[in-house]
Structures are given as C-alpha cells and as structure tokens.
C-alpha cells in the first residue's frame, strides 16, 4: 500500500486516541476507576513489549547475546537511578560505542 496512506491511517488512529477522553469535555470529569487502572497499565505493557522485541528478537527467532544486552542493562540501571531519558540513552550508546568497536 502507498506509504502516505499508511501514515495517514496511523495518524488518524493516533489522533483519535489522543482526543478520546478530552473530546467528552465537561461530560467526563471523572474517569471510572477500572478504566483508569487499565490505562495505567498501557505504558509498562506496551513499552516492555517493544523493548523486549527489539532486544531479544532478530530476523529469524531469538537473537544471540551481544553488546546491545550489556548496553541495555546499563541503560536500565541509569534510568532506574536517574529517571533521566537523555542520560539513559547516552549511557547505553556509550556502551555500544565502546564495546562494539
């Protein structure tokens, strides 16, 4: 399919997600507790599914251990200790640059 059409479908889906609760405006000041719990599970579940896929899966099945996994551990530690996105990425990149050379 045309790449532009794919981008636009993804954009519409993303916009609808963004506007979802906001669109209800004054009719929805309180989100039901159960929905709130489900929503709060989205970041850990989605982010971990993506991170695990890119770290552990290669083109055909499981990916062997390499400098990426060392770097991922370092990134994880830095993220845990500092909660700083830029620092976490830079620390990981520094490891792949050093170990990968």
């Amino acid at each position: 399919m045309n790449h532009l059409v794919m981008v636009l479908i993804a954009a519409v889906g993303t916009y609808l997600t963004r506007v979802s609760f906001i669109a209800f405006g004054e009719h929805l000041r309180v989100v039901p507790p159960r929905v709130e719990v489900m929503l709060s599970m989205i970041p850990p579940a989605v982010l971990s599914a993506i991170a695990a896929t890119s770290l552990l899966l290669g083109d055909d099945g499981l990916r062997g251990l390499d400098e990426w996994h060392v770097a991922a551990l370092v990134s994880g530690l830095v993220a845990w200790k500092t909660k700083n996105v830029a620092l976490c990425i830079l620390a990981g990149m520094a490891v792949v640059w050093t170990v990968g050379v």
Binding site: F21, S40, P43, P44, I50, V85, C88
Partner: protein, 227 residues
Amino acid sequence: MLAGIRRILPFTVIAGPFGLIYGVTAAENGVDTFAAVIASFTIMGGAAQIALVELIGDGSSWFVAVSTAIVINLRFALYSATLAGSFADFPRVWRFTLAWAMTDQASMVAIQEYEREHDPFYRRWFFIGGGIFFAIPWWIGSTLGVLVGGEIGPGWQLPFAVPATFIALLVPSLTSRPKIIAGVVGGGVAVSLHGIPSGLNIILGAFAGIAAGTWATERTGRVEVAV
C-alpha cells in the same frame, strides 16, 4: 506560554537526535520521503513512527504495520484521561487542537504544572508552549534524518537508540507490583510469539500485559479490602 517552554526545554535536547534516528531509520527502510516527513507532523510519536517504518521495511502487511503504530500510541489515552478534567474548561477548538500537540513529554510536564496552576487560560497556553517547543526540534531532526538517510554510517550504532529510548520510558513507569507484572507479561508474551508476523507479537504482548496488570491490581485491591 513561556512557562511551558521553560519546563519542556530539558526534554527538547533529546527530541532533535531522536528525530534524526527516526528519519535515518525511515530512509534506510526505503520509506517514501514525503510520507516519512509528513508522519512527524501527523502521527507525532517517535516510537510508533519507528515501528511503522521498520515494519514497512520488513514488508509486513499494511494492516499489521498501521495497527502496531496505533497500539504503541494507545498510551496517549492515558494522558487524554488524565488531562480531560483540566481541558474541560478550555474552548472546544482549543481542546481539539491541543490534543494534536500531545506528546509524552508535553503531557507529563503539564500534568505536574496543573497541580499548582488552576487558571484555564494559563493552562492552555502552558500546554501549547510545551507542546510546540518539544515538536520543533523533533520536526527538524526527523526531516534532516530522512534527507540525510544512509549517509550516517553504521559505526554510530544509531539503531540501539530505539531500545534505549523504550528502556528510558519503561523503567520509570514500573512504579508498582501490578505494573511490573504488566511489563513482564507484555515483554514475555511478545518475545514468546516470535513466530508470528512482526508487529502482531507487540500488539498481543501489549494486550496480555494490560490484562495481567489490571487483574493483578484488582486482585490486590480485594485482598486489601478483605484484610
């Protein structure tokens, strides 16, 4: 508006390079240049855009590629729900425009600020300031990346920035036992389903993680009530 800009500045440092990574990834996966640039203005979500262009490059079906991008962006529903109460005081046009400028960073900064500042006029200008000033380096970086493309050599190890970004966002989100369960199940299911089309494993892993985390929360909730 100035306050919003000031608060978002520490995050804008990462928006430019991250945009560059997206742009280069798009170019290397043979994504149409115009479509790749437009994505940064319309989808405006780096993680989803990177997944989308990688799946296009892998030759996945358009449905899987588009659905994966949308599932990755489902987290915006969380910000939408959190911000809905504050946004309710804004004129309709503002609500629907600000929704477009919603990024992880702009939302998190605004959610914190709204705890202190209650004036709707201040609140909406704060959001537009943070939203736009985070987006500008993202637009510049990604456009540059798409145009420069393959000129950036493999020695830079840019692809590692993709998992690194997700780790950077994931680790701080693991603030409770149920959320850790959501993460473990989400990642575990996604990896164990590696035989199925790429992208689909992320969607199924994500839903499994959300279900497991919700179940774990409700279970502990009942236990607390019983005690």
